[in-house]
Symmetry: C3
Subunit: 342 residues, 3 copies
Amino acid sequence: MKTKTLAELAEYVGGRVVGNPNLKISSAATLEGAENGEISFLANRKYLKLLRTTKAAAVVVQEELESPAALLVADDPYYAFTQIVVLLHGHRKHKKFGISAKASIAESAALGKDVHIHDFVTINENVRLGDRCILYPGVFIGPDAEVGDDCVLYPNVVIYDRCKVGNRVIIHANTTVGEDGFGFATHDGVHHKIPHIGRAIIEDDVELGAACAIERGTLEDTVVSKGSKLGDAVVIGHGTRVGPHCLLVPQVGVAGSTTLGHHCVAAGQVGISGHLHIGNRVTMAAQSGVANNLADGAVVFGSPAFDANKAKRAYSLIKHLPETVKGVRKLAKRVSELEKGR
Amino acid sequence: MKTKTLAELAEYVGGRVVGNPNLKISSAATLEGAENGEISFLANRKYLKLLRTTKAAAVVVQEELESPAALLVADDPYYAFTQIVVLLHGHRKHKKFGISAKASIAESAALGKDVHIHDFVTINENVRLGDRCILYPGVFIGPDAEVGDDCVLYPNVVIYDRCKVGNRVIIHANTTVGEDGFGFATHDGVHHKIPHIGRAIIEDDVELGAACAIERGTLEDTVVSKGSKLGDAVVIGHGTRVGPHCLLVPQVGVAGSTTLGHHCVAAGQVGISGHLHIGNRVTMAAQSGVANNLADGAVVFGSPAFDANKAKRAYSLIKHLPETVKGVRKLAKRVSELEKGR
Amino acid sequence: MKTKTLAELAEYVGGRVVGNPNLKISSAATLEGAENGEISFLANRKYLKLLRTTKAAAVVVQEELESPAALLVADDPYYAFTQIVVLLHGHRKHKKFGISAKASIAESAALGKDVHIHDFVTINENVRLGDRCILYPGVFIGPDAEVGDDCVLYPNVVIYDRCKVGNRVIIHANTTVGEDGFGFATHDGVHHKIPHIGRAIIEDDVELGAACAIERGTLEDTVVSKGSKLGDAVVIGHGTRVGPHCLLVPQVGVAGSTTLGHHCVAAGQVGISGHLHIGNRVTMAAQSGVANNLADGAVVFGSPAFDANKAKRAYSLIKHLPETVKGVRKLAKRVSELEKGR
């Protein structure tokens, strides 16, 4: 942990100070959890009340607001705060381990400079591993696979043969990349496995959570494009292409041969069917079931999913179905009465 | 396996025998699968029919019922039966393995008494491991992490740096504790990773299923409180607090910064949104999507989830929507007719 | 990769050639991705347009259709194509590794002929391993477990004690078989673990995806029957029996003590409750929540799930609930007007 003055932090993030610029800040916390000397942030006005009672020394905000804390006003407070957390605390430090004698590394593997390969790692034939990669214990890199520079593979990550991981990729523990997809030809009631000739490709700056499974393609590659972030337990089907800078939250599942454009967001437990085309900047609310193509900018909700504005209203009416049905029944009686009286 | 008389078992669980107290019992089985000499149980009257045809020698029941088997009457038959299964069969016996020379253990790690550390285990710097722990092959304990007494970590369990596991915790294979949460600040279309300063804390007597992922907190800790049991493939988001004695069944997902009270039950595939407050003794039916705070004792169902009594009725009416809509259309015609005739 | 003439391929799959039988074919591709010299297939008329523009040298089809490519007409084109992919590309080739000196193998384990046991594998006491099995790094086989002939266990697969895996079984990375099920007797607010005496049994020709979790049975065995294929992140509850030749797509969850008949299909994220009886050839659409027994041949959709034909219509009407409710309100007004005028 480093210590900075509030003025230094403001300069670092391009913001301005309201209050004492000489405050010394050495760590970050939530509005509720902060103690004296800590910096916090307000990104959502829902938490305004906490801003007024916080014990934080300073708070990153978007505009001047009432608070006992000093303020650091920045255009994008959460981004500014993130920069500050990186500055003060840094990302995880990885031990300089070197190459373990207890790892199994094929002679034909090409290792970059300054790589750290822990015990019980397996690197197979013809693997190409970039510079400064960190492979934690139990990592397996299959034959002919490629991993770029500055990657961190946490314990027990498995990369199947021929798959390709870009630069600055982070993969959390127990995640699998490139297993065979769910592809079978059913004939006379027996399911025959189709070989999966395609690969799984994880592009630059992707992060995969723990316990994910990214299937390799049957004939064409499965791709998670640059800058996309996948949460825990996400499953991507064979031949699917996740576009750049998507956010797929934990437990999302995308079936095979679907394409997602750039900057799509799928919230928790969303399921997307196979062979679909999802446009750019599409947002899918939690548990949505997406069964149709979606145009650029679509925001959907529900299972089956449709336009979120309409869907929120529509799904909320399910609650009132009993009254609705009763109302129809009563109306029918009244109409019958009227008909009799005619 | 031990052998006990039915009278001994009844005394052990505080129940009473109806039938021959001298029956020798050495194993437990289901009503359907039991063979002579085995004990079974009836916890649900739905299976009354099986009680009448069972080949079990004895059955644990709540009240005297007709059966060819002897009866052991106990107030809480499933609990009594569980005690009997423990007595007769015991929990899994773990080999006395000692500390493997094939494990990688940092010199600075502090190991308790009578620990069993299998091959290919990695214990990093400054780890504190309690007494009588069993670490199966492929387990990874990150730097500065702490594991209490009497824990069992099955193969390939990964505990990230600084995380804390209490006493008598059981974690099943391929589960991850303390990976970075899904936290990114999006700025100019690029997702910037926020360092996760918080930890994941697993309190005493927790059991985690296989393939779970428990994110560490961004700024505050993620906590699974004492006595809670999580099924397979459960994901807990960063900064979320699962209260004591909760039951989260397989494939449940809880997003970040949510708190669950004590004795909550979430059935299969339930999803709970972030930043919510779920009270005590809340029950969420399978596949529920919980998007709002829930008061103590709430029982909910559906996606979106609401009061289960109402929700069961409401969701069941979806089935009849076609008739309802048709009914409204017909009514509209009849009303038009009436209006014409006015 | 082998090279075959189109005539040879046609003979191999029992089809007939329309076009040049002497075309040399050495690899397979999609209609869109194929280049000269490659063979593709058309299994769905939805892609007819691609057939007319494909650059494939030949296409496997069910009937004569217009295409610049030569045609291989076969009754079941996807099956024929699968056979061709196997012929040309083959299934994954596994290195002849032998038995690693870095694996931990109990003396009492019985290993079959021509097995390949990679580094960091653990084989416990009394394990029986069949012929020609391939165990990748990090695989763990618990005490008294049994694995048949010709199995492939990918990295970090965990088989718990006493479980049984049949012949020709493929299990993908980071999958767990036989962990304790979610079984607790709650007494005075505390959840007491019931020992799981049952096993998990994976029968012949089963394939399990990555990150699956197959619970062992409490009292009776959990069974995945012969020829069934499970996708990634599928969870099977304790004591559940999945019948033969089922297809359970990624992220499906089946709770405990349920039986599925043969040839059932559960699409992505389907959840099936416990203690149910699902018949033969039952199909469950994506995200369905199955809470009731289902008869042979049932096709269901929705959560709660019911007959798919009705359910598709019914669930699609949720979208129109706002109009429906508004329509009822307007009708009520019109009826009130009529009543006044009476």
